[in-house]
């Protein structure tokens, strides 16, 4: 036997081995009785830290659902992967539906990736629950029948902080200078901020776009000082906010800083003594409801630290999905969409229940402004944020902060 033919024999053997490794589990999988959900979230890059919390929260919900007997007696299996970037996210989403047997898609934090996944969902007529993406355009111009949005949209974040700023007389006639993340989310947030300033006689005197991989903010801070504003305003995302806050404290600029987006993990990373100002959040571990307390306790026991808002939102999202499947006794996307569109109410561990608004698929829920506790009052390194009262207030409609039909160009 010549070495050449031996090589081809080996190649053939390898090919067969490879094919069986790939092929057999697929057949086995197709026969399994589990309900499979495809989940994508950024685990690397500037949103990676948030994605890690997201998966932690998701897994706790999955365990609890399965321990309680699953859905219609079937166990739940959530396949979770790093979405990496918008293009990869779309490819993975398509593969999860086509090959891995996912019945619905969930996840995301990046608005750019959520957009591409929502297009995949629409093409395949499958439900996508977009959990942590906040751009208005996702539930506005780019909305579709198959996508539901759990996190609060940018307009709500701006209005939640805006209410606190109006109360403190920090808007009317004041000069604002903003720093904006240079991708769809930041642009969208800036648009919402501009609308707020225009409506309340705030004066935006400068705005700088900041690439998502910027770590050194010193040239921007020099520009801020040269512009001499009354208030500095952050429309940044992920790691960017942490770096800005740290360097803002480092340079000791005298202007108050406010921001329309800050996740608790990024605030924790900035650390006590660096953070100041008023910021919005969708949830915080100090929220005083039995549901939130139980979740915080389970999470802390498991991971040795309190959950972040993305851990909470993934937890309640999977619970909502499971509840919808149980109540409709179906995993069919059309049935589930109809159920959510009936504005069914869900316990989201807050004082008030949440429901998806039928015409733009946005979850209606409370939001909260937060600021920073005076130094020395924090019990531990996760405790330096002072949570404000829920907005809208107890007597108000949940819809007052959300974009109205006139403002939101969503048509399905």
């Amino acid at each position: 036997m010549t070495s050449n033919s031996r090589r081809s024999v080996l190649k053939g053997a390898a090919a067969i081995a490879g094919a069986s490794a790939l092929g057999l589990p697929m057949i086995a999988r197709a026969q399994s009785d589990k309900i499979k959900i495809g989940h994508l979230t950024p685990l690397t890059g500037f949103l990676g830290a948030l994605g890690e919390y997201a998966v932690m929260g998701l897994r706790i919900a999955e365990e609890e659902i399965n321990k309680a007997g699953g859905i219609m007696g079937r166990q739940l299996e959530v396949m979770s992967e790093d979405s990496v970037n918008p293009a990869t996210a779309a490819t993975k989403a398509q593969r999860m539906l086509e090959r891995d047997g996912a019945v619905v898609l969930m996840g995301e934090i990046s608005s750019a990736s959520a957009l591409t996944i929502s297009q995949v969902a629409a093409r395949n007529s499958r439900l996508f629950m977009s959990i942590g993406a906040r751009s208005d355009v996702l539930r506005g111009k780019n909305c579709n029948k198959y996508t539901f949005h759990v996190d609060i949209p940018n307009t709500v974040m701006v209005n939640a902080v805006g209410k606190a700023l109006l109360r403190d007389n920090l808007v009317r006639g004041k000069k604002f200078f903003s720093l904006t993340a240079d991708y769809v989310f930041g642009h969208d947030l800036l648009r919402a901020a501009k609308a707020f300033f225009a409506a309340n006689q705030g004066n935006l005197i400068g705005d700088e776009l900041v690439a998502t991989d910027v770590t050194d903010f010193s040239p921007y801070l020099v520009k801020v000082r040269q512009a001499n504003p009354d208030v500095v305003c952050s429309n940044l995302a992920g790691n960017q906010v942490t770096n800005l806050i740290k360097q803002y404290a480092e340079f000791g600029l005298p202007y108050p800083i406010v921001g329309f987006n800050l996740n608790t993990a990024d605030a924790w990373a900035a650390g006590e003594g660096n953070l100041s100002g008023t910021w919005p959040t969708v949830w915080h571990h100090d929220i005083d409801t039995p549901g939130s307390k139980a979740f915080v306790s389970t999470f802390t026991k498991k991971h040795g630290k309190p959950p972040e808002n993305h851990a909470w939102i993934e937890y309640v999202s999977l619970k909502m999905m499971a509840q919808a499947m149980s109540e409709t006794r179906s995993t069919d996307s059309a049935t589930l969409i109809a159920h959510f569109e009936k504005q069914a109410e869900f316990d989201i561990l807050k004082a008030r229940k949440g429901w998806f608004r039928a015409w733009d698929h946005q979850l209606m829920q409370e939001a909260y402004p937060f600021s920073v506790k005076p130094r020395g009052q924090a019990r531990d390194k996760w405790d330096f944020l002072a949570l404000g009262a829920a907005v809208p207030g107890a007597g108000e409609s949940l819809e007052i902060l959300a974009p109205t039909r006139e403002q939101n160009p969503c048509t399905m």
Binding site: L43, T44, G45, G48, A49, G51, E52, Y53, D182, E208, L209, V210, A211, D213, V214, T215, D216, S218, P219, Y220, L221, V222, K223, R225, Q226, N239, T242, N243, K246, Q247, A249, E250, F251, G252, L253, A265, D266, W268, A269, A270, G271, G273, N274, E308, K381
Partner: protein, 288 residues
Amino acid sequence: MFLLEQVVNGLVLGGYYLLIALGLSLIFSVGGVVNLAHGAFYALGAYASVEIAKHLGFGSAVILSPVAVAMLGILFERFILRRFYTADPILSLLVTFGLAMVAEQSIRVIWGAAPLSASMPDALRGPVILGNFLFSRYRLTLLAIVAVVLLGVWLLLHKTSFGRVVRAGIQRPDMVAALGIRLQPYMTTIVMLGVGMAALGGALFAPITGVHPAMGAEIITVAFVVVVIGGLGSFWGVVLAALLVGVVRGVTIHYVAAAGEASIYILMFLVLLFRPRGLLGERIEKFE
């Protein structure tokens, strides 16, 4: 006036790039290896400093963390890098790139993906206004440390017999060998030094940027650009390039903020177009 302030700020920033790029350049010049794992040592320096600062305070962390990482650098040179000095460059690129990924994932496994918080001593916090220019007190301190390190490295390379051998080794390794001098112990020291400087950069920058797993990947690109612009084998080339990159970025942000990060690559492109060996790069036979 406003522009001048950006130039001055850029010079300060350049000092920090220098800390990372100088080691990268030295390892490249002497060993002929592009150490893509250099950023990993920067990240390790930052993580180690956070751990040490918890027990011994910030000052000790800034000294001990680079020393610890430099020790790691000895192992890195002795067991990995050494095998690739004479090999095809693609092999060393692959192995150091792989190492960088292994290091990043290891950090993620040990410390988690969530960024750690590191704080600076209160005494170093706050602004310094000099002639109406804004400086951060912390960065001025950082710049002073960089200047001391730089002076030390320059003296080591130009005023000691160690430095003479290293410089000769860059130009004519065969001749050095013919004179009966083994370059390997020198290379170990160079890697230790370079890696230690990267770790010092990590420790110093931990309080002002996020300490997170991908921080090494973020810095390696800029450091590499600085090395390419400065040119191989030239101490002052790296210094000049680091300052230039800091200034160009600052000035670009002054005019078109969104193009700030792109500007340094455009600068590299232009330099390579007109001076393929970099600004002050020497003609080195083994790389021609």
